[in-house]
Amino acid sequence: MNTALLDKVESKCLKKDIPHFEIGDIVDVHCRIKEGEKERIGIFSGTVIARKGRGINSTFTVRRIVAGEGVERIFPLHSPNITDIKATRSGKTRRAKLYYLRERTGKSTKLVQEHSEHTVVS
């Protein structure tokens, strides 16, 4: 299989200006939502616990606690419906996948803030 040619086809659909964010960051994902004819932008904010895949298949998982229940959303990184990703707080991590957060509740889900260059402190 000639992946170089597949990459050429994919590359037209890839976004070129994906904002920088890392595993452990708390991000606001701006997502276009269609309700009938109307279109609005919904914001889902939470901790980035995983980034997966390559090329057009790359996704990232955002986890947050809603009304005491853990909610995870998997976003395709290159989806045209995602208009913006804003990192609001960086978290200190030692691994690439933060699945251990699923077993945690309350204060222990919060990661220690890490001041890296891209951090936007609100």
């Binding site: 299989m1 000639n2 597949l6």
Partner: protein
């Protein structure tokens, strides 16, 4: 019609921002190896060739045939039959590229499906099989009854011709019809077709304008 090679599958976003599963085919440039006419061959057709044979595999007859079109022997040669007494617009030695599909919206793709070896009736014909339990022994994937006395009354029960049984599956010529042509890349000779296409990545395929939906 154009000959090509399946590159593989991927996904692209279309103009409505939907994610489409697509197959990428590297097609052409094909060389017109021969133009057949009613006078000389009894029918009208255009013979296309794709992908050069490497030097050690070229036979003298193949070299002679290709020389008439001022090209090298090809690995994949297929004929395009022309309807009725339509005259070919192409000449021997002409090159055909993906640009012929510039206006096309739907295509048919012909390829050789992946070989599955000897497959049972459940895989080959989607039979239901037998129960997993309730006393069933040693026949969970069996085809069941093949015939009874009544299937050929008077001659003793005989299995009817064409009865679906286990056997060799795949590695067969398959045509998939009316697949949307998502985009073409003239620079890299690529066709991007929605959906799947028979055969493995690297397998040869024939791409033609859809015969059902001619746009």
């Amino acid at each position: 019609m154009l000959l090509g090679k399946k590159v593989g599958m991927t996904q692209v976003y279309d103009e409505k921002e939907r994610l489409l599963p697509v197959t990428v085919i590297q097609a052409g440039p094909c060389v017109v190896m021969q133009v057949k006419t009613v006078e000389t061959d009894g029918y009208n057709a255009v013979q296309l060739g794709y992908d050069d044979k490497k030097a050690s595999r070229r036979t003298k007859p193949a070299i002679g045939h290709a020389e008439k079109a001022k090209t090298l022997p090809k690995k994949y040669i297929r004929e395009m039959r022309l309807a009725g007494d339509a005259k070919a617009e192409l000449n021997q030695g002409d090159s055909v590229t993906v640009s012929i599909f510039a206006e096309t919206k739907f295509v048919d793709v012909i390829g050789t499906s992946k070989g599955k070896g000897f497959a049972g009736p459940m895989k080959r014909y989607h039979f239901g099989g037998m129960p997993g339990s309730h006393g069933t022994e040693r026949k969970h994937r069996s085809p069941g009854s093949q015939a009874g006395y009544g299937t050929d009354r008077g001659h003793g029960g005989d299995i009817k011709k064409g009865k679906k049984m286990g056997g060799h599956m795949g590695a067969k010529r398959i045509t998939v019809k009316t697949h949307r042509l998502v985009s073409i890349d003239q620079e890299n000779n690529l066709l991007v077709i929605k959906g799947s296409v028979p055969g493995p990545a690297g397998g040869y395929v024939v791409v033609r304008t859809s015969q059902k939906n001619k746009v």
